[in-house]
Symmetry: C2
Subunit: 304 residues, 2 copies
């Protein structure tokens, strides 16, 4: 028996289309409806055959759905929920996949009645690619899905959404929304920001040409270009909606960087060595925790 008879996914980019593929692969519903406002996405979605029905009308897309998943950039939520809020099925669960969580409640609750179970969610998974073609069913395997419900949430609704993510291969963690935003600020948002930033700094140099930056990128730079190739709309919305936590973590990052800069200026080799030695271990722990493949250089030389 399926947990949700009818599921609707709003936004079929990397995350939404991966969800659609995973749901179909595991037969997690009887009817899967998709909606995507991007005219460039609609033909690929139909050709990929990843939903039972691609609705071109947003309100029709959610009607009668037992689970509605928002998988658009977070900045689009308010407008979407304003339109669909009063058309959601009684007792339906409304969730999302955005990288920020505290601001989400404020976007959803004004437009949704008490009979709807709002459970904000965030699968900590992704690639640097975007769009329906970029998705794949195994994206969520062995990754964490974080759910940030209010304490008053219906326990059955929460149990079902937890099972849903587990069926997609994820581990589930329940967390307070504001704590989620701090954890993700340091593990995801600030890393993306500094990756975008170093790529921008390199692009703007006068003394080093862009072709030199590209040619010699194997010295480390190319690693950063991966996450700096992520969806710009999604990331703009993340930073606009997790301002406090990002600014706090960024302040700490800059403070620490200033200390390293000072150690370089004054030739303090011992301080540099101590710092570089300590950070080494954390990668091993990430590999041991199953959150990274145990191969050198991201497996880049596998084909040689």
């Amino acid at each position: 028996m399926v947990l949700y008879k009818k599921i609707s996914i709003i936004g079929l980019g990397l995350i939404g289309s991966s969800l659609a593929r995973g749901i179909k692969e595991k037969n997690l519903c009887e009817k899967l409806v998709g909606f995507d406002s991007g005219p460039d996405s609609q033909i690929p979605i139909i050709n990929l055959n990843i939903v039972d029905l691609l609705e071109l009308d947003l309100v029709s897309a959610v009607k009668g759905a037992d689970l509605v998943i928002l998988a658009t950039p977070v900045g689009a939520y308010s407008e979407i929920v304003e339109k669909i809020g009063s058309h959601l099925k009684n007792g339906a669960t409304l969730t999302d996949t955005g990288s920020i969580k505290e601001a989400v409640f404020g976007m959803l609750t004004p437009h949704v009645g008490d009979e709807i179970h709002i459970i904000p969610g965030h699968p900590v998974a992704g690639t640097e690619q975007s769009g329906p073609e970029a998705g794949f069913a195994s994206l969520f395997h062995d990754r964490w899905a974080i759910l940030t419900p209010l304490k008053t949430i219906d326990s059955d609704a929460l149990a079902n959404l937890t099972k849903f993510w587990q069926q997609l291969g994820s581990n589930v963690e329940i967390m307070d929304a504001s704590h989620h935003d701090k954890v993700l600020a340091i593990t995801s948002h600030v890393p993306h920001l500094i990756a975008y930033n170093i790529v921008g700094t390199a692009r703007d140099l006068e003394e080093v040409t862009k072709s030199e930056v590209i040619k010699f990128s194997a010295g480390g730079f190319r690693d950063f270009t991966r996450i700096a190739a992520s969806n710009p709309t999604m990331w703009r919305d993340v930073f606009l909606n997790n301002k406090d936590a990002v600014l706090e973590m960024l302040g700490r990052f800059s403070e620490d960087l200033t200390a390293l800069q000072r150690a370089i200026r004054w030739g303090d080799g011992e301080a540099l060595y101590d710092m570089f030695e300590k950070t080494r271990r954390i990668r091993k722990q990430i590999i041991d925790a199953g959150q990274e493949d145990d191969v050198a250089d991201f497996g880049r030389h596998q084909d040689d």
Copy 2:
């Protein structure tokens, strides 16, 4: 006919042992001698059978060699060259593999006679792993080897070392040492520094536990832990010896980061989007230039 009858490699870590493997695989000399001062490395080097002879005496290791390659951390060069300088074969070439180049001349020339061809070199290749077991022959395939000779260099000596790197699969670029140090500051040194730094910042947080950082690292953080797992001695020496270029690039990086921070604080979504959109293209150019594999997420999901 080989370019060098006898080659000596001083330091058989990741880079030196990869060189040894490549030289043996392509039969680039008649006799390959290795030296490594690390007691933990000597047994593995013998077991790996990657050199014809592992010399335990530094001076003996370079005697009669036509090419001597320093592949230790840069900070060890002065002491090594002080010992071997007067024992090098007349007409031999002395090169290295360090990530900084301008300071290298100052380390080598005081101890080496005019009859030795000093050609500092830097293969822009590596992984985050260290030691003789971490090396492999294809490490230099399709990567760039930068040589930074003085203008007065013997043209035959330079042509031979160029061919040597090409035989190992590399492209060769001749560059001014001080320009090299600027290019690598932005493409390698500052990226490593900020990777070390973000890992350090994450480790030191009070509000977010280390286990949370590890669990949710797939949001972007884990990418940075790779280069932050690199050899701490090597990187200490890089920063101590490329101070000016690193501090200059770091100044620009911090300036740009402050501008992004300000855009977040003031909610300037347009500035953020513009920045994130521009950086996206550079990854495609790196892939097109053959300096990165064309797979999403570093190929992490290939096994799923």
